[in-house]
Symmetry: C2
Subunit: 471 residues, 2 copies
């Protein structure tokens, strides 16, 4: 489809032709910059009763949302440690495997999540081959739970098993903690559902060499590393902190590498760890996700609030939580991703949307900060000049604007902050999500990256549940 927009900053009015990403076209249609006005969409009929119930209480909703967003603004996530999961997570059973997204049983797990579970079972030494691991899972001999229910987040499949090292991020302001595993790199990785020998060998090396080296490094920092400042700086350096992380990773390495020169730790391990971290421009994603989790958890459980505190996908379903409705998940089918594929792959190879990395959008980063990262289109597709439009559209789905996450190209306007389920239902503007694409067949790995959106049904269900709290 074709949209016309004026584009003074690019020299002359241009015809904005969408060359691949329907999501960008959608943001054009629904954002404030569009030339052809579409007006508000009517709210979905099934939610009209809920909206009528909430209407007399909007003052309370507003006050609650202000509290929630102030918590998102004031959180100070700081990197304090690296611990293996069994140390970091209270009561994590030796046969418990955490995963991304809302709860899901083995029978309903998608290919890449099954692949990651198979790999993690072998990594923990509970099975010797994929068939045995799969049989264990199918017989119910291992337990599953969402990362989000244990203070953690996991990119893509998001599988966490007891021996995996995790970033530990504390928000001392609100007393919350966020956890996330260390990034394995791109391509064939457990988080994309691959479980071959190379994946398992790397996981063992991460447990035995990388984890202890990074732990010693983080413990050697002169002060806990300010992840809000790091992300804010990275937004001035072309990252949106979800799919483009070259600056975040660089700033993280500028903190860690000098400490590695000084710590008392086996030299060869430190050198190997430094090389590994430095070879992967996504290495900074995981501590940022842990920081986002600590931030979002600070915003939980404010009665009456319509602000989203979690969005996550398990590859089968998208799930979300509102601050005003506690721990309850509202779900719908995981979205199809519109993007770019790695050589040899196409849409038929793609699994639906998967991963907890939408915690970045939940705190005003990721696709919400895309104006900061025009170069991301080399990774996810579309035209660079449309990146700002994606951000601008999100102001119609959010309660406020970030004080610390500023967009230079918009003259330092704050990123859209605090996804408001009521605004989403009213405006029809669904949150945009930047994400990787996992192969749908277990064992494949990453096949691409792109944009997607969550199902509206999850938002209408959430609003309906919020209305019930006022009844």
């Amino acid at each position: 489809m074709t949209n016309t927009m004026s584009a003074g900053a690019l020299g002359a009015p241009v015809e904005a032709v969408n060359i691949g990403l329907e999501m960008f076209a959608e943001s054009l249609r629904t954002s404030a910059v569009e030339v052809t006005s579409v007006g508000w969409r009517p709210s979905p009929a099934e939610v009209q009763g809920a909206l009528d119930t909430i209407a007399p209480h909007l003052g309370r909703v507003r006050a609650a949302n202000d509290i929630v967003v102030e918590r998102l603004q004031s959180a100070e996530p700081r990197l304090v440690d690296v611990l293996v999961a069994r140390e970091a997570i209270d009561g994590l059973g030796e046969r418990t495997f955490l995963h991304a997204g809302p709860p899901v049983d083995w029978a309903d797990m998608c290919g890449p999540l099954r692949g990651a579970v198979i790999g993690a079972i072998m990594f923990e030494g509970l099975a010797d081959d994929p068939e045995a691991a799969e049989a264990m899972a199918a017989r119910g001999e291992v337990d599953f739970a969402p990362c989000h229910e244990h203070g953690a987040v996991g990119p893509m499949a998001g599988v966490v098993s007891p021996s995996m090292p995790m970033w530990v991020v504390d928000d001392a302001v609100h007393g919350t903690r966020g956890l996330c595993t260390l990034n394995e790199g791109l391509g064939k990785t457990l988080r994309h559902g691959a479980y071959d020998e190379g994946v398992l060998t790397r996981l063992a090396w991460m447990r035995d060499v990388l984890g202890p080296a990074v732990q010693a490094t983080v413990r050697g920092l002169s002060a806990p590393l300010d992840l809000r400042g790091l992300a804010a700086g990275a937004l001035q350096m072309g990252d949106e902190c979800h799919n483009r992380l070259r600056a975040s990773t660089s700033l993280l390495l500028r903190e860690l590498l000098p400490v590695m020169l000084e710590i008392d730790h086996p030299r060869e391990a430190v050198i190997e760890a430094a090389r590994f971290m430095n070879s992967n421009d996504h290495f900074g994603l995981n501590p940022i996700m842990a920081g986002a989790k600590a931030t979002a958890d600070a915003a939980r459980d404010v009665p009456g609030s319509s602000i989203v505190t979690a969005m996550a996908r398990n590859g089968t379903e998208f799930g979300m939580r509102l601050s005003g409705t506690g721990d309850r998940w509202f779900t719908g089918p995981a979205g199809v991703i519109d993007g770019l594929f790695l050589p040899g792959y196409g849409p038929e190879d793609a699994n639906p949307d998967i991963g907890d990395s939408t915690i970045t959008e939940t705190v005003g980063l990721g696709a919400f900060a895309m104006a900061a990262a025009p170069a991301i289109v080399k990774f996810i597709g579309g035209r660079a000049s449309e990146a700002s439009l994606a951000t601008l559209a999100m102001y119609d789905a959010t309660w406020s604007e970030s004080r610390s996450y500023q967009l230079a190209v918009l003259d330092f306007r704050g990123t859209p902050l605090g996804i408001d389920a009521l605004e989403v239902v009213h405006s029809g503007v669904l949150p945009i999500i930047n994400t990787g694409i996992a192969g749908r067949v277990a064992g494949t790995g990453q096949v691409g990256a792109g944009l997607t959106k969550p199902p509206m049904g999850a938002f209408t269900d959430a609003v309906t549940a919020l209305a019930a709290t006022f009844a």
Copy 2:
């Protein structure tokens, strides 16, 4: 003044009010995006005869310019070593002091250049106090020469003395070499004309500790460091590589710090060096300048070419060279800088334009790449949304567009490349320069940063001299 422009990418037509930087307003007036057309300015009358002389030979000029710009495109500047100046520069006398810009005698030197010379004389142990150093210089007991005439470039005052360590950058494609000292940090520094105890102590530490540590590191790289790739990457990360260098510095440190873990060099020196480099987000400027010098020197001496191969300022005069007129300098008064001042300083404290760092604009970086770096306005002033306009205006002053230096926000259009003196004279569009501001009184140091432009007279003189080569 107020300019109106359409600004679709920012959401709606906006009133672009210039809040401080006349240079931005100027780029609005002269760039292709302006709403009120100003047309071509008439060429200055004094150059009309020269243009008439050149007119029949424009085919030769074009062919020569294509050759020159192809050399700028194809240069591959790589960081190969660190050497002290007396080793790096053939025949550099022990009492020779190199400086930024075109040739200048002591009598005509501005305050900050005199301050830097005084400091360098003391640093070399030729005088014990500023008065003695100044007297030596005034009596002609030391020699001066432009950096540019010895294969080097220097930021701000640009003073190079025999004991200073320098980055060594080779372009193996064209057999050129560029040199530049190591960056001292911001504030009170020799390059800004300060020469107090702190400045001299740091210079001695740079000679004794930093230089050898960085030398060992560069020699420990598995391959010479690709500075074109580094700058191209930094442009996708919010740098323009002249006044905003946080990404360049980060990418440089990602290359150097891991090597520092491995080299056989005194550990305490390595740790001190790493801390120093990491504390200064301008540390990456100097190797980029050395690489730009190697690149620009590859483009020298093509008969008939109207492309600029050097722009440099000594704080009194601006000077430039054309490829088609060899080593001759064309000069005019150094410009006044429009920008932001550090606390306690104002325009009355500012020295006119100074430094060789305009070598970055000469190769398509710096102000020419400002669209990549909207956050730079925090340092130089103006509105972030105007950064792209500065770049767009420069397409009217240049022969081509860089293949490697791409601007994501302009959908990966190459930066304006190859300043063409004929186009400058025709269009009246003078090159924009990003620069620091030195205090005009010797000893002060840096007082701010901003934008300026060179004198048109240098360009009309250059075109007149080029015409004489066709006579």
